[in-house]
């Protein structure tokens, strides 16, 4: 999985490419999130446009960090989740925990 992290207007934008599943993909995202949060950045947008699959370990990671950022007054918002990502999040009942945006700009703007 490719993971690209950049900062825009005090929001950390994480762009993912590839399946988010147990192994290097989930480990890599966990490490990226821990680094972001370790720097005190709790406002995070994750672009899932190119993530065709999220497995239960990927979901677990997203909801765990969602809870921890919210405790710090932040949030994790999702950008352009793929059809199958939405289906999976909905199946396990966590889709409604996340705010979802059509593009990065809208997600970043929503934090202001």
């Amino acid at each position: 999985m490719d993971i690209n992290v950049r900062k825009r207007s005090e929001v950390q934008l994480i762009q993912l490419r590839g399946p988010l599943r147990m192994g290097p993909a989930v480990d890599g995202l966990r490490q990226a999130m821990e680094e972001v949060i370790g720097h005190g950045d709790y406002r995070i947008a994750i672009n899932l446009a190119e993530v065709a699959m999220i497995d239960s370990s990927g979901i677990g990671l997203l909801v765990r960090f969602l809870a921890s950022t919210k405790k710090q007054g932040g949030n994790i918002k999702l950008v352009q989740p793929s059809k199958f990502a939405i289906q999976t999040l909905k199946l396990v009942g966590v889709l409604n925990l996340f705010e979802i945006f059509e593009d990065d700009d809208a997600a970043v703007a929503s934090f202001s």
């Binding site: 147990m22 909801v63 199958f84």
Partner: protein
């Protein structure tokens, strides 16, 4: 020949994959990639392929993490059987002691929503048409019609 629950008998199923690999995340990727290729070759529709792929991913992850305790010296086995109608049955076996699937809590209950685990078996049951646990839970068989 694949064992099959009540619907349709066992005739017509042939073995399309039989892999035994070390219990690692790399093996999961190897098996899921191989199954994806087979399903695509069988011209199984995209939605059905997605559901099978994710269910297999979850079953293999359970086998590696819980059945093998993440020990790469242990082995997981995955078999895929299919018929000419695009029906498939997949089994995943690990050497572990198994588990009791009936006691797994519902991950959609409010107190479980922010939990970081416990969704795999629930997802499998939602995605596949029939699911059976055998050998005390150390083997899962999943059917998609």
């Amino acid at each position: 020949m694949a064992d099959e629950p009540g619907t349709g008998g066992s005739s017509g199923f042939s073995e399309l994959l039989n892999l035994s690999l070390p219990a690692t995340s790399e093996s999961i990727a190897t098996i899921t990639d191989a199954i994806s290729e087979i399903l695509e070759r069988l011209e199984i529709p995209e939605q059905k392929r997605f559901e099978i792929d994710l269910a297999v991913q979850e079953a293999l992850a359970n086998a590696v993490v819980h059945g093998c305790d993440g020990d790469p010296s242990k082995t997981i086995t995955c078999k895929l059987n299919g018929d000419s109608h695009g029906r498939v049955v997949i089994s995943v076996t690990d050497p572990g002691p198994g588990f009791r699937p009936e006691v797994i809590p519902d991950p959609k209950r409010t107190e479980g929503l922010y939990g970081d685990h416990g969704r795999g078996v629930y997802l499998i049951r939602q995605l596949m048409d029939e699911v059976q646990f055998e050998r005390g839970g150390a083997e899962i068989k999943m059917w998609k019609y």
